[in-house]
């Protein structure tokens, strides 16, 4: 369980993080979204006990990040936005190093390393030097080192940056698996469409202030007061436009091209079905009738102003 209460970090002349509060339970995967300099990394570094908060606090499984940093460190896995890898050691040596500093008994280390390698699909690279790994593998190794001590909270700062599509897909699967294992994950990223694939909770931060927090679906609903429906027809777009006028739920319709219209709609699913039925009954040649889904990018752009610290 992670509870963050009024966490604040002041630097000379500005507030990097301005009193943010939230709580997460096991299995929550939080997408931490914000522009560069919004305060994401500062927040993550405070949770990782690498920065002392100016005020406020956070507790991880009941341990305060300021009062009990050593207990907190036993319960977190921190993956920074850079590798910071020791490239002159072998993969198993790298994991053995982190298992040792996390005080895992000597006898238990081989098993722990084996598990971490299997989970991150690096078993085949066990005896390879870190410097010979691809970027995606190095990223997975960094994640593997976060897992050797079985933490309850994983702090992943820009984990997908610089990865190719395949590596991203693998990372996504891994994150989902970790969520299923009951771990809390906080993931900061700029790649918003991907975040929505595996995050069940989102926090948007701007200039150190938390402007939105909650489940992805709730935020999308809050942002989209009206739904948008895209209609494609073979022809007779003007007739289709005229037919939409006055239908229940239709706020307005706009012609996009000779074969496409957009409907701003605030009715329920029944009203939406009724619109389609009406168009068909009038013999209009409808090819597709599809609700345009809002995504995290829309939410982010709507809730933030683009201001940075």
């Amino acid at each position: 369980m992670l509870e963050v209460k009024d966490l604040r970090k002041d630097y000379a002349g500005f507030q990097a993080v301005n009193g943010i509060s939230f709580s997460l339970k096991p299995g929550d995967i939080l997408g931490f979204i914000g522009a560069n300099g919004a305060g994401k990394t500062t927040t993550i570094r405070m949770l990782a006990t690498l920065l002392e908060p100016s005020s406020g606090t956070a507790t991880i499984d009941g341990f305060d990040i300021v009062k009990h940093p050593m207990d907190v460190r036993q319960r977190i896995g921190y993956m920074p936005d850079f590798f910071g890898l020791y490239d002159d050691v072998k993969v198993w040596e790298y994991l053995d190093f982190f298992a040792t500093i996390h005080q895992i008994p000597t006898r238990g280390r081989p098993a722990v390393i084996k598990q971490a390698l299997e989970l991150t699909d690096l078993t085949i690279k066990r005896d390879a030097y870190v410097q010979t790994l691809s970027r995606g593998m190095q990223q997975r190794l960094c994640l593997a080192k976060c897992l050797v001590h079985d933490p309850s909270l994983l702090l992943l700062d820009e984990p997908a940056s610089g990865l190719d599509p395949r590596a991203r897909a693998e990372l996504k699967e891994l994150i989902l698996e970790l969520g299923r294992m009951g771990k809390i994950l906080i993931i900061s990223s700029h790649i918003l469409p991907e975040l929505s694939d595996f995050c069940n909770t989102v926090a948007i931060i701007e200039r150190g202030n938390m402007v939105a927090f909650g489940p992805v679906s709730t935020l999308l609903q809050q942002v989209r007061q009206s739904r948008e429906i895209r209609v494609r027809v073979l022809d007779r777009v003007a007739a289709t436009h005229a037919a939409l006028d006055g239908l229940p739920g239709v706020i307005e319709s706009t012609v996009q091209s000779e074969t496409e219209l957009r409907i701003s709609f605030d009715g329920d699913d029944h009203a939406q079905a009724n619109v389609l039925k009406t168009l068909i009954e009038k013999g209009l040649p409808v090819i597709s009738f599809q609700e345009a889904e809002a995504d995290l990018q829309d939410v982010f752009l709507q809730l933030t102003t683009g201001a940075v610290n």
Binding site: L50, Q74, F83, Y86, F97, F98
Partner: protein, 504 residues
Amino acid sequence: MAMMAWLQEQSRCYFNNALAKRDFRTQLRGNRAIWLWSLYLSLLTIAATSSYGQITSGYGYGRPMEVYDMQQALKGLYGTMLTTITILITLIAPALTASAITTERQRRSLDLVFSAPVTPKYLLVGKMLGTYRYVWMLLVLSLPFTALAVVLGGATAWDVFTTYLSLSLVGLIYSAIGLLISSIAIRTGHAIFYSYLGVAGYLAVVTTALSILIYPTLHSATGSMRNPEWMNALLMFGGGLPVGMALGETPTLLSLVIFVALALFIVKLFMAGAGSALTARAGKETAALRIQSIILLLLTSIAAYIGTSGPMGLSSGMPVKYLELAFSILLVLVAFLPTLTCFGTDGANRSRNDGLFRVRTMFTGTPAGGLPFILLCVGIMLAPVLWIDNRDDVALALGFYIIGMWTFFWGIGRFYSGTLKGLLAAKAAHFVTMAALLVLPDTFAVISGSSAMENAISLWHPLFANSFEVSLGYGVVLALIGLFLALVQTGPGTSKAAPTVLTS
């Protein structure tokens, strides 16, 4: 239970240190170590052969070498080898540790380490073990050369043992200096450069202190030793050569024990400094550093008192000799005063003004504890004359004068902290101002053709005023100016919250 936990922690730190193991693995991997050792052995071989050739060529002059000549030659060879090894250790040891933390910092792996349950002590001990083991390897590799001198009769086994003990501890001190610099520096190149400067500074301070403390009373008028035996142990700090080399005689077990204890204490002090530099907030690492500094100062004051209580010192009636020495030793504070005094913010480095004078925070590293700590340092150095020899009004007044001077310097730091933007700017301005104030009066005296020492021209010389009233007056005036400077810009400090000192 607590004892067991402590033992487990020590075992983890010293015998199962992951950082030491990792460094050891990488040090011995590849051909680099082999090439370095080959180079090292080649240098020793060249030194040995050329030295032996030179030494033996100087003897005989056509006649066969006597046994005595041969022994002298072998002693010369032994001395040359030790000097060569000492120079190499002096060059290698600080460079090895100077890169230890900066490499981690440049690789940005420090965050990964400190997000695990790792204390600064664990990190520093691990780094020290990793590099110091390398230094020991160099010493072991040189053993055949010195053993040769033993076999041929140039030195005894005890000589070799004491020499290597001495060299290994001096190597440890140099490594600790490198580690301290590495904890502060950002780049490896800077760290190595400043580590050499640090070692040079250490040797300069130690040599000066030894020359003041020991050599003047090394021999009495009759030529016999006057120093207590334990004091001779201090000679080993003068560059690594054992007492036998410096005095022409073999060190005793007692002097060795004292040397080992003092050397380990100095190493601990440097390590505490490194820990304080690495720690995320004012805390136990800084407290350990300050407490150990006080202990070292106390030992220094006792040694200085004994060293100056001979014919040229306190027995002359006025403890001026000691006061002058104490004054010189206290000048080392100039280097640390900006850190003790200044506050401000530079990025993540933050030090809040938590008040003017708080004895409670004397050891925790906050600005309010700066003046109490400075006064404690000054007080410890003045204690012998203020308390033990408190029979001379002039000495007492000089003591007040020195206290006033340091309060004045402290006030300058507080003034800059309130005036300038940024912690670094305040520290730099404070240091430069203090250095200028200390140097300028003597410089003017030299330029104007008068001798500052003879005429007591320098404001900062303890003999500037030679009467009770004048000394006391200057002391009080300086202290008042310092307090005024401190108050005029910064006020008494208003922060009620727990003050924070952060270092990245």
